[in-house]
């Protein structure tokens, strides 16, 4: 029973990694940029939710929606204002920009909301679902349920919708996409919007289990490991990678000496890079010249 208990909290933690990892993958697939500020977008989303729900007193549900929409807007502004002028610059420069963006967002969050920890009021506090001996906090269930719904939504979106298919097309071949009528640049903005909104969802879901602080975005580094384990070009891979890292971390916390849990993500990453460098769902292929 204890194992099941640990498994569930691992899955819930893994879902958070997976959601952030999906944000990495979305942007990477569409624009071939790695956005190292993905974790900070999650942090910003959590603070937006705090502002809407705790400070402005909107209900949890409305606050959640307002957060997702406004973070989508933040994504568009970042793409238009910072990343689009970088088109054609070396990938390394773009990488540095996103790392810098992470620092800036942390500083802004600290300046606006203060560096002391805060907690987001939410409808789950203290409520626990019991099945036999098993006890699972509502906030963990919300994370798992939210992630599941998002995954199904994303699957349908990319499989069936005009916009979802256009996003895939734009990420595979820009020139070809233009000439079947896809506005590639606008699609890039939307990808950033989607990615930031996804990070916001992760932020709101994780806020009840971990406190709000400007450095909470560092979780993005573990999510980055999860994305690589999953194959860095694959959305299902990102979720699976997240789950593996999340579950392994919880078990390491139980069975290994203290301190090891924090290193689990990196150990898995190293092992993965040695054994199967292309990740679980290999989608990255060498480009033909």
């Amino acid at each position: 029973m204890e194992i099941l208990q640990i498994l569930i909290s691992g899955v819930s933690q893994g879902c958070v990694y997976g959601l952030i990892a999906m944000g990495f993958v979305l942007i990477y697939k569409a624009t071939e940029m790695v956005n190292f500020a993905q974790g900070e977008l999650m942090m910003l989303g959590a603070y937006f939710a705090y502002t809407f729900i705790n400070i402005l007193g909107m209900g949890y549900l409305f606050g959640f929606m307002a957060t997702v929409l406004s973070m989508g807007l933040v994504g568009v502004v970042l793409e238009r204002g910072i990343l689009r002028p970088m088109i054609g610059e070396p990938p390394f420069a773009v990488l540095m920009i996103t790392i810098g963006l992470g620092f800036v967002l942390r500083a802004i969050a600290g300046a606006v909301w203060g560096t002391e920890t805060k907690s987001l009021s939410n409808p789950f506090t203290g409520q626990v679902a019991r099945v036999g001996e098993l006890a699972v906090g509502y906030e963990n269930l919300a994370i798992i349920a939210g992630t599941t719904v998002l995954c199904i939504g994303f699957y349908l979106f990319f499989r069936f919708t005009r916009l979802g298919i256009a996003m895939q097309a734009a990420s595979q071949n820009q020139l070809a996409a233009y000439y079947v009528g896809i506005p590639v640049k606008r699609i890039y903005s939307l990808v950033w919007a989607l990615s930031a909104a996804l990070a916001a969802v992760a932020g709101v879901l994780v806020a009840p289990v971990s406190l709000l602080e400007p450095v909470m975005g560092f979780i993005g580094i573990k999510a980055f490991c999860a994305a690589i384990v999953g194959g860095f070009g694959s959305l299902p891979g990102a979720i699976l990678g997240g789950l593996i890292v999340g579950i392994a971390e919880q078990f390491a916390g139980l069975y290994l000496p203290p301190g090891f849990a924090a290193t689990t993500a990196y150990v898995i990453l190293l092992v993965m890079l040695l054994v199967r460098p292309q990740g679980l769902f290999a989608t990255m292929q060498q480009k033909k010249v």
Binding site: G153, L156, F157, F160, T161, R162, L163, I165, A166, A169, Q172, N173, L175, A176, A177, Y178, Y179, V180, G181, I182, P183, V184, T283, Q285
Partner: protein
Amino acid sequence: MTALLSARNLALSFGGVHAVRDVSFDVEQGEVFSIIGPNGAGKTSIFNLISRLYNANAGELLFAGQSILQEPPHRIAALGIARTFQNTELFEHETVLNNMLIGRHVHRRTNLFGEMLFLPKVRRQELEFRRVVEDVIDLLDLQSYRNKVIGSLPYGVRKMVEVARALCIQPKLLLLDEPSSGLNPEETEDVSFWIEDISRDYGATIIMVEHDMNLVSRASDRVLAVADGAVVAVGTAEEIQNHPDVQRAYLGD
């Protein structure tokens, strides 16, 4: 009869290099119009101007009487212009069928939520798209490749798939950039047959850039010869081949 496409004094330069200078021509509705010229003469530049990949420095470009020089590249398909590329630009990891279905993108008339729920309207639209695609597959004999991934196909077939995708747009004007490059003589001969079929069955006007003079003479109604970015002569393939200025452009004095 008004021209489907008319270029008026088009000019394009890259720094000090004049890739296209003062080029004017008219392409009539329904004709097959070829652009020929030595390497570096500006053929592909003219193509890229029409498909809005490059911005003209001067001149005017009218499609069905409307200026298109301000249109962004992604609007070209919706206007009814489709193009292929010399070295093919396909969605490499997708099947032939998916590559063709995305050609229907500009014709998709359903909304996001209907699509996610796959409502009956969306289903009807998909079936209609599939019919358009199957007609093109029949026309170009791609039946056996329908579910093959592009990356696994030989070059000649890929070039056909790109033409097929362009046809799925159901364009009024089809731009073919060197349709025979990289093909063997037998495949090149097929090109002239399917150009004829496309022109007849789809009523599409075709402009092609081509090096193979056999193909040009067999397939085209009129030919435009360019050299050093400027027009040398326009006429039937025979007139062009015997034109003293054209011979001079190719062979030198």
